[in-house]
């Protein structure tokens, strides 16, 4: 993934984009290099699946132990905000997938716009999450020993919120990291480093971003709808 002197070819659409790219010497061809990069990202995604999988397992165990508490506690999550966040992330997945597509077609300006849109949608997601968290703090719906809310029949609602904050928190950190990476991609794209010959970082990030969306696709019904 090397790039020489990109400044000479900054932001020119079409053939001039991505001129700095050349295949690393240990790969037989550009196709092999791309396949190796993609496979590497998929292996990384496996570790991410196992990370969130461990948290889902904890959720499953605690839900089986304290089923009534979980059902009672989950009603205190705002499912409208959760549903809106789901739509926001699905739209961000679309804009990211289209960004990869426009990079494949060497449309540098469109790629920048689409990455920018994805960043904007992530901001919306985090803003809604912020509002949700703020509401939880205000009501005392906090993890474990910090749980101070009144009016609960069961005594283990704190465990539900521990799981809730842990899972949405780590998911939110992944979104933040994604935004940082997108800013990096945006800078590189605006310097003209990507084209149909070389768009591997955008595609790789796209895979990561879709996985973040996938995790939320499971988080939303399990936490907000089923409890």
């Amino acid at each position: 993934m090397s790039a020489a002197t990109p400044e000479l070819h900054a932001s020119k659409e079409g053939e001039q984009a991505g001129e700095g790219f050349h295949v690393a010497h240990h790969f037989d061809s550009a196709d092999v290099q791309f396949d190796a990069g993609r496979m590497g990202i998929w292996l990384f995604l496996v570790t991410e699946i196992l990370l969130f999988g461990g948290l889902f397992c904890a959720f499953a165990v605690f839900r089986s132990w304290y089923y009534a508490d979980f059902v009672e506690a989950h009603h205190h999550l705002d499912r409208v905000m959760g549903a809106v966040n789901t739509v926001v992330l699905i739209c961000s997945s679309l804009t990211m997938a289209l960004a990869v597509r426009s990079a494949q077609m060497s449309k540098t300006r469109l790629t920048s716009v689409l990455i920018g849109l994805t960043i904007a949608l992530s901001c919306v997601f985090l803003a809604i999450k912020f509002v949700e968290y703020q509401h939880k703090f205000h009501e005392g719906l906090l993890p474990g020993k910090y749980f101070t809310a009144e009016g609960f029949h069961g005594h283990h609602a704190g465990i539900f919120f521990a799981v809730y904050f842990m899972m949405t928190g780590i998911h939110g950190i992944h979104i933040l990291i994604g935004m940082g990476l997108m800013i990096w991609l945006l800078r590189r794209n605006m310097r003209g480093e990507f084209s149909s010959r070389y768009y591997a970082p955008i595609e790789g990030f796209g895979l990561y971003w879709h996985l973040v969306d996938l995790v939320w696709i499971y988080l939303f019904p399990l936490l907000y709808l089923i409890g």
Binding site: H25, V61, V87, S93, L94, A97, R101, I217
Partner: protein
């Protein structure tokens, strides 16, 4: 390191496999519809199946994202194998943990009624030992004569 300054030394350029815009838009539409189904289904109470129906709909959405947005359908099958295998291992992880935790406490009643002595686990309870001795009592002298 910069011996290969120009790409032609390594053969042809990568030609991207570009999907039509309509594919992306249709997938996006399907995901939005499935989200509506997810929310709608949560208002119907299927009892114990609530969890499984929610997981099923979520899995359909996940498969759509994975196959189209993540290009798994159009990519080398090996990438799909990698992804699929991780899901299998995750399933084993969760299922076996649930087997264990759901079965906890099942032995408690039995242990209360028939507590086992660690030093002689197969000796049975006091009542069982009494019965065994009662039936074994007439024989000892006969067996001692034939002992090797």
């Amino acid at each position: 390191m910069d011996a290969h300054a120009h790409a032609p030394a390594h053969g042809k350029d990568h030609v991207p496999h570009v999907l039509p815009l309509s594919t992306y838009l249709k997938t996006w539409g399907a995901l939005l519809v499935l989200t509506a189904v997810t929310v709608g289904a949560s208002y119907v109470n299927f009892g114990a199946a609530n969890l499984w129906i929610a997981l099923l709909i979520a899995s359909v959405k996940a498969a759509t994202v994975a196959l189209v947005f993540m290009h798994l359908y159009y990519d080398h099958k090996f990438h799909a194998v990698i992804f699929g295998v991780s899901l299998i291992f995750l399933a084993i992880f969760i299922i076996f943990t649930m087997f264990d935790t759901e079965a906890r406490g099942r032995a408690d009643g039995i242990e209360r009624e028939r507590p086992a002595d660690i030093k002689a686990p197969f000796a049975g309870t006091a009542a069982e030992r009494a019965i065994k001795e009662k039936h074994a009592a007439p024989k000892p002298t006969g067996e001692a004569a034939h002992a090797p």
